[in-house]
């Protein structure tokens, strides 16, 4: 055992000559077992991510219930067309990621690289639109903090808006909506930035031919991550942009 730890390469060479693929790790009996263990581990990681984003979703649910009028007014500041276009962009990016997994499985190197590039480009397009939306919030002083401006919510008519005016204390609560908006979309965007970084690494390795000889696991497991980030947005879009269009009278 000690020798195996001290020199795994030599140990492997001596005792496991039947292992032909370089990526097949010594402690797995079969490549299939290794693949399944990898997927299982990736899914366990994604379950922790469900809990992480789930907490933010739950905070949104409770505070929307608590400060309903402020959340409705603040939510209707978001642009539905931009949100919808971004949803379509992200879904298309996910589609190309799914095709990238297929290309790796059928060992088409050039297609794999192409699909990874398209996934990446659409990821950047999403972040570009998101940055534009953030910038608009910055210009309107709708980023929570010392320079937050509630005047638009207290006197919407002066800004040409048809929203119901809020009392000054209620208008302050719009900060909570924008805080959750930035926290949720910001964490989502951070996940995309990390994903794009990994995509560049995968592109380089794919170009080298690492994933077109039957070794698909890194592409497949990254695909799981990318699709998970898609799913988070699939829920963020209706919750932040859509469900407050027709406020309940109460």
């Amino acid at each position: 055992m000690h020798s195996a730890i001290a020199n795994p390469q030599a140990d492997q060479a001596q005792q496991h000559e039947h292992v032909s693929l370089p990526q097949h790790r010594h402690h797995f009996a079969t490549p299939e077992q290794q693949r399944e263990a990898g997927s299982f581990g990736m899914w366990l990681f994604l379950l922790t991510e469900i809990m992480f984003f789930g907490g933010l979703f739950f905070a949104y649910l409770l505070f929307r219930n608590w400060y309903y009028d402020a959340f409705v007014t603040a939510s209707n500041q978001l642009s539905v067309p931009l949100g919808a276009v971004n949803t379509a962009i992200l879904i298309t990016s996910g589609f190309f990621m799914a095709l990238a997994v297929w290309a790796a499985e059928v060992r088409k190197k050039n297609l794999l690289v192409l699909f990874l590039v398209l996934t990446t480009l659409l990821g950047f397009a999403f972040l570009g639109i998101k940055a534009d939306e953030y910038h608009e919030k910055y210009e309107k002083h709708h980023i929570p903090g010392a320079s937050f401006d509630t005047s638009q919510f207290i006197n919407p008519a002066a800004y040409g808006l048809s929203e119901k005016p809020l009392a000054p204390d209620a208008a302050q609560k719009t900060q909570l909506f924008f805080f959750l908006y930035f926290a949720m979309t910001g964490m989502h965007a951070l996940h995309m930035v990390l994903g794009l970084g990994i995509l560049f690494w995968l592109m380089i390795r794919a170009q080298r031919g690492d994933f077109s000889s039957g070794y698909v696991a890194p592409i497949e497991n990254f695909g799981l991550y990318w699709h998970f980030v898609d799913i988070v947005w699939i829920f963020l879009f209706p919750l932040l942009y859509l469900i407050n269009r027709h406020p309940l009278a109460h």
Partner: protein, 118 residues
């Protein structure tokens, strides 16, 4: 970990490992991906359209139902869970179930603290 030679051979023989749960590696075709992709885009259009109609309390319910449907088909097809072993299916299901348990428990606490003042 000292092994007898025969035992060593036996232990590391790949053919000796039976994994009845595991289906052989299923390659999902681009045709299936394209169908899922088209469905996702159609659902996005549908949810934007539905948000424009005043359906009262049903607006959020319909929006969340459409989002859940989209999430499920992404998980089943893009994330291959439909084609995975029972271990992976149960793992994924357990994760979402656990999240629902936590939401239910937290909501029960919230609702029961100041009855009527929700």
């Amino acid at each position: 970990m000292a092994h007898e030679p025969q035992h060593e051979q036996h232990y590391h023989d790949a053919a000796n490992v039976t994994n009845p749960e595991h289906a052989s590696h299923h390659i999902v075709t681009p045709r299936v991906y394209a169908a899922v992709f088209a469905t996702l885009l159609a659902c996005t259009a549908l949810t934007v359209f539905a948000a424009d109609i005043n359906l009262g309390v049903f607006n959020p319910i319909i929006a969340l139902a459409i989002a859940s449907f989209k999430g499920v088909i992404v998980i089943l097809f893009f994330m291959h869970v439909k084609y995975q072993s029972r271990l992976i299916k149960v793992t994924v299901g357990a994760g979402f179930f656990m999240f629902l348990v936590l939401v239910t428990m937290t909501l029960s606490d919230y609702i029961s603290r100041a009855w009527g003042l929700w």
